[in-house]
């Protein structure tokens, strides 16, 4: 048995590119998975137009809805997250406590339950449209994770930056907005990119509210044609191509920022 280092920290981030020893080779895991999926997606409708061509014609609406939910949710989650992060760092006890409770509550409830709660349970009080409910639930959930990212990002800016701003006569608020927060963006961009990918995958949960996203469109097609294997194969491959492409994009961005950070 190999000895395990006690200090080893295992970090597997949802959405991040996983390390690969053969990264620069043509046969890297990413290349095989990405181009493999892409080639299957191209060959299947050519080799067997019925039913694959019909499936591929049926789902693009769903892809658009998936992106709509993902992009709107991530934008709102960033805003919520900024305030949650600031709240978690606040010296005012009550604000700090509220922000911390928010994060704890969100982390303790499965996202699927949050979706049901906002659409069905709160539906007794206010009946929101399905898409709106879905976006609110995703925002509420991911806002908490974004909050932790912002908190870490703000703490990652050296203390001396705040001191220098204060010494020049700036208020804490001015220093925060003009000096600290602009410097957090470089730090938080890669984790935010990973959250974006994780959110895109989790957005498939909104199909449960009958929001016509990629998964839901697949389900609609399958339930009328009874072609479950064919339909869900295409759905899975489309998700895979999108998320693999995005994770490569985030990894490239991260690498470029590391290089810029040195100059």
């Amino acid at each position: 048995m190999a000895e395990v280092n006690k200090d080893t920290k295992i970090e597997v981030t949802d959405g991040a590119l996983i390390p690969d020893q053969a990264e620069n080779s043509i046969f890297s895991a990413w290349n095989i998975a990405f181009f493999g999926a892409l080639i299957i997606l191209i060959i299947l409708p050519i080799a067997s137009p019925d039913p694959y061509r019909d499936i591929l014609k049926f789902i693009p609406d769903g892809i658009l809805t998936t992106f709509k939910v993902t992009i709107l949710s991530i934008i709102f989650a960033l805003v919520v997250g900024l305030f949650a992060g600031l709240g978690r760092l606040s010296r005012i006890k009550i604000i700090n406590r509220i922000a911390t409770i928010y994060v704890e509550v969100v982390r303790g409830i499965p996202l699927l339950v949050q979706l049901f709660y906002i659409y069905y349970a709160l539906g007794k009080v206010v009946q929101l449209p399905r898409l709106t409910s879905a976006i609110i639930a995703m925002t509420f959930c991911y806002g908490a994770y974004m909050g932790e990212i912002f908190r870490a990002g703000i703490q990652g800016v050296p203390q001396g930056q705040m001191e220098a701003a204060l010494a020049l006569g700036m208020s804490r608020t001015q220093a925060l907005w003009k000096v600290i927060i602009p410097q957090t963006f470089r730090i938080i961009l890669p984790p935010v990119g990973n959250e974006f990918i994780a959110l895109l995958k989790d957005s498939s949960l909104v199909s449960i509210l009958a929001v016509a996203d990629l998964l839901r469109r697949g389900r609609e097609f399958a339930s009328t044609s009874f072609l479950y294997f064919e339909t869900y194969t295409i759905v899975a491959l489309v998700y895979l191509v999108i998320t693999l492409f995005l994770s490569r994009l985030v990894a490239t961005m991260e690498k470029r920022m590391k290089i810029n950070g040195r100059t």
Partner: protein
């Protein structure tokens, strides 16, 4: 009018049970340059940081002219505008250009119009010998250049007092001179300066007073000649033997 520019009266500062500053008393007159020396952990930086309230004293009083820094209701932001500070690690705003580093406080705190702020900024950059660097980012400059920008940034607010917290300790030897030259010019122009540093050359050229501190206390105050050539206290002698 008060005769002092900076007055520190019976200042004490505790960090938990640790007494970082013990009954410090120091008077600095307008235009005086005071060098504070002493072993690490002797409270030099703490005393300096209490002057612009980056640290708050536990007891005692500190005045800048007639403004009491330590009074409970003191407008500390207003006072800080008049007290420039230069840090050991420069602390330039890394996401902003050199010129914007200098103008940021002018436009946000003093509400100076942008064009006017930039004019002030360019003049100050020329004064510290970096007129050609206004568009550079701090990360593209050498340590000595960054520290000169930091001095220009502090001067932009037109302060009555300049505090220097080990301004040359983080610099390579060949860059120390360029920073000290800027500080010497400032001293000649009559700026009131409180400098935590062990630069003997600067002390002999510009300092009116040298303060020796140890274990949070001011042990001895005198002219550079008195302190360096004829220290009265045993601890001062021992310390000077170590650094010379």
């Amino acid at each position: 009018m008060a005769e002092h520019r900076i007055l520190i009266k019976d200042a004490c500062k505790y960090f938990g049970d640790v007494k970082a500053l013990n009954n410090a008393n120091l008077e600095i007159k307008p235009g005086e340059v005071v060098l504070v020396i002493g072993p690490s952990g002797s409270g030099k930086s703490t005393m300096l940081r209490c002057v612009n309230k980056l640290e708050s004293v536990t007891s005692g009083e500190i005045y800048i002219d007639d403004d009491c820094v330590t009074a409970p209701g003191a407008d500390i932001r207003k006072i800080r505008e008049d007290v420039g500070m230069v840090f050991q690690s420069f602390n330039l705003f890394k996401h902003l250009t050199v010129l914007r580093n200098i103008t940021l406080a002018l436009t946000t705190v003093k509400k100076t119009p942008k064009a006017e702020a930039e004019e002030i900024g360019r003049k100050l950059l020329a004064r510290v010998g970096l007129a050609d660097k206004e568009k550079a980012y701090p990360g593209q400059l050498s340590g000595g250049q960054q520290q000169r920008v930091a001095i220009a940034r502090a001067l932009a607010m037109n302060p009555r007092v300049m505090l220097f917290d080990e301004p040359t300790s983080a610099l390579d030897p060949e860059m120390i001179k360029e920073v000290l030259d800027v500080m010497l010019d400032l001293a000649k122009e009559g700026m009131t300066m409180m400098v935590v540093s062990h630069e003997m050359g600067f002390a002999k050229a510009a300092a009116d007073k040298v303060v020796f501190m140890a274990d949070g206390e001011i042990i001895e105050i005198g002219s550079p000649e008195e302190i360096f050539d004829n220290p009265k206290e045993e601890r001062t002698k021992t310390f000077l033997q170590h650094i010379l």
